[in-house]
């Protein structure tokens, strides 16, 4: 049984196990008698539709592709004719490549470029997340607690409209702004602050600005939802007891809005780390972004197995971050998904 075939078997096995459990419970009368059977509750036609629709999505669009990609990353890069043949064995060579790079000669070396790109990506994503949070928190607070309902709707619209402009166009807009003849450079030169135009893009400043800009909305909404549920009286009470505004936020508002904060931070981090457009269009020639490396493996090297391995590493990093956030903030997964 090839590893590829195994991928199909695992979901079927899981479903069968749950089905058996459900039948066993019903037979023993341990379940709730007011719960009717699924087919009984929805009629045959609808039940079939529901099951088929959900099965197609969860199996063919989610579970199977992921598992397939993961198992593919353990295969060597082969020409199509060699696949399934004797050379097609399970191997860790792509993962080894990530850490060690090409082994030329006898000295042990590390794949410094890729490792460095990986850590830099994660670090920058973290910083962008934090900066985003600091930027958006006051606005979310204002929206949730201070703005009246009419103003609120207006501000929300004002927030949403820019985000209907595609992220690529927005990246482009920043490029226009920050380019050598762009507005900012011209303004700075005219004001006499610098002599020649400063290459923002090479210095990665464009990248940082572009990344934090792109996900402002993603951070604002969960924060807003999290803070909105807080009873205004609690803040009044805290102020009444003499707490400074810093302490009010630290002790009353933020602990309450924890799920919202966790949600916003998680999403921004994932989107930043997995971002393609910003590094491609706002990065300088030396910018190394991990996701761009994955892109190159696919479109330039046509090395799908290796690309899958790197993609899987990225996925693991994201999952790791999510788990970290869940642990640090002490929230559950259900509270994060809005």
């Amino acid at each position: 049984m090839s590893s590829r075939g195994l991928v199909y078997l695992i979901p079927i096995a899981v479903i069968a196990i749950f089905w058996a459990m459900a039948v066993w419970e019903k037979r023993r009368g341990l379940d709730d008698p007011s719960r009717k059977g699924f087919v009984q509750q929805n009629g045959i036609l609808l039940s079939t539709f529901f099951v088929l629709a959900v099965a197609f999505w969860t199996l063919f669009l989610v579970v199977l592709p992921y598992m397939y990609m993961v198992q593919e990353s353990f295969h060597p890069s082969l020409w199509p004719k060699d696949r399934g043949g004797p050379k097609d064995v399970l191997t860790l060579e792509h993962y080894k490549y990530f850490i060690y790079g090409l082994q030329t000669g006898t000295e042990a070396s590390y794949n410094v470029t890729h490792l460095y790109a990986f850590w830099k990506t994660l670090l920058i994503s973290l910083c962008v997340t934090f900066a985003n949070f600091c930027l958006c928190y006051p606005l979310a607070y204002y929206l949730a607690q201070s703005a009246g309902p009419q103003k609120l709707r207006l501000l929300l619209i004002a927030l949403i409209v820019p985000f209907w402009v595609n992220e690529i166009l927005r990246a482009f807009a920043f490029r226009v702004l920050l380019s050598s003849n762009g507005l900012i450079n011209t303004a700075l030169i005219n004001m006499g602050l610098i002599d020649t135009s400063f290459d923002f893009l090479r210095a990665d400043i464009g990248l940082y600005l572009g990344l934090s800009y792109a996900y402002l909305l993603i951070m604002v909404f969960p924060l807003y939802n999290g803070i909105e549920a807080l009873d205004k009286n609690q803040i009044e009470a805290a102020r009444d007891l003499g707490a400074s505004w810093w302490r009010i936020h630290k002790d009353v508002v933020m602990p309450f809005a924890k799920p919202g904060i966790a949600s916003g931070c998680t999403m921004v981090f994932m989107l930043a780390a997995g971002s393609l457009a910003a590094p491609q269009f706002l990065g300088g020639p030396n910018t190394l972004w991990f996701t761009s490396i994955v892109y190159d493996f696919f479109f330039q090297a046509f090395n799908w197995s290796r690309g899958s391995a790197y993609a899987f590493i990225l996925l693991l990093a994201c999952i790791g971050f999510v788990l970290l956030v869940l642990r640090v903030f002490k929230v559950s997964l259900g509270e994060i998904a809005r």
């Binding site: 459900a22 606005l139 595609n166 992220e167 303004a187 393609l276």
Partner: protein, 297 residues
């Protein structure tokens, strides 16, 4: 009361900076759309022109991309809204022990980087299409783009519909059954009308998310193009302000959309208030009669 004043000033200043950061780049780009130089320039402003808008419409690749994006968008809506509906109903009825796993699986595409979804879609469907011999039908950029996007857009739809579904009064379903309706009738007469606003929002969100998606589509689209991938290509090559023109159009369209939404919402609120007022009048009339209501013969 100076602390209040300071607070208000600081809030105003902060809001100003925030929205300047938000709108600034777009405003600048909007200006460049009407400026004549071949490279998007805002300052100095040479002359006013609309030639970039016409250039946009004459751009064949762009138009082809636009058409494909619309088709894919419609495809995604037709797939994601029914699936989202089915998924949310299953979520409320699934065997309780399996629910956590089911939730994890259905929500995971939302949290997964789009790149990974795109890659996995292509890898899986290529092999699947080959082994089942459906390659010429399934292994196409448009189809794979729909599949890849649907992976997480179904999740969006499911969450939107689920939020509304959880506010559904089960007693209405029972009342309809009690009156003799069959289950399909209950579904179409009672549940779907209730869910209609959510289905509508889900459809809109699905279309918009599909239209503007880049990370996943860029892998899944293979050799075809969508508006967004064409854009990406143009930006990479360095370009003329026709892109700025596109941005202006998008902003104009979304503003129109937002304003119409606002108008519709206000009208709906007004109608609800009127109905409530009529109910209250009826209550008062009833109490005034001392609870006695004319009984029919």
């Amino acid at each position: 009361m100076t602390s209040r004043l300071v607070y208000k000033l600081m809030t105003g200043f902060y809001l100003l900076i925030f929205f300047a950061y938000l709108f600034g780049p777009l405003a600048v780009m909007g200006v460049t759309a009407f400026n004549t130089p071949n490279y998007p320039t805002a300052y100095p402003f040479e002359a006013f022109t609309t030639k970039w808008f016409t250039a946009l419409f004459n751009d064949r690749d762009m138009m082809e991309g636009l058409w494909n994006s619309v088709i894919i968008g419609i495809g995604v809506v037709c797939l994601a809204v029914p699936v989202g509906l089915a998924a949310s109903i299953v979520m409320t009825q699934i065997y309780p022990r399996a629910r956590s796993l089911y939730y994890l699986i259905t929500v995971s595409p939302v949290l997964t980087p789009g790149v990974i979804i795109g890659i996995s879609t292509v890898i899986f469907w290529k092999d699947f299409a080959e082994t089942t011999g459906l390659k010429p039908y399934l292994y196409k950029g448009m189809i794979l783009a729909i599949f890849g996007q649907a992976s997480f857009i179904c999740a969006y739809c499911m969450l939107i519909i689920l939020a509304r579904l959880q506010r559904f009064d089960r007693a209405q379903e029972e009342a309809a059954l009690d009156l003799g309706a069959s289950y399909p009738q209950v579904f179409w007469h009672i549940l779907i009308p209730f869910l209609r606003p959510a289905l509508f929002s889900a459809g809109i969100i699905a279309f918009l998310s599909s239209f503007e998606n880049y990370n996943t589509t860029t892998f899944a689209i293979l050799a075809d193009k969508t508006l967004v991938t064409v854009l990406a290509g143009r930006v990479r090559q360095g370009t003329d302000p026709s892109l700025s023109a596109l941005a202006v159009i998008i902003i104009a369209v979304s503003l129109v959309g937002a304003i119409s939404y606002e108008i519709l919402k206000r009208r709906e609120e007004r109608r609800a208030l009127e109905a409530a007022a009529r109910a209250r009048a009826a209550e008062r009339g009833e109490v005034a009669l001392g609870g006695a209501v004319p009984t029919a013969a």
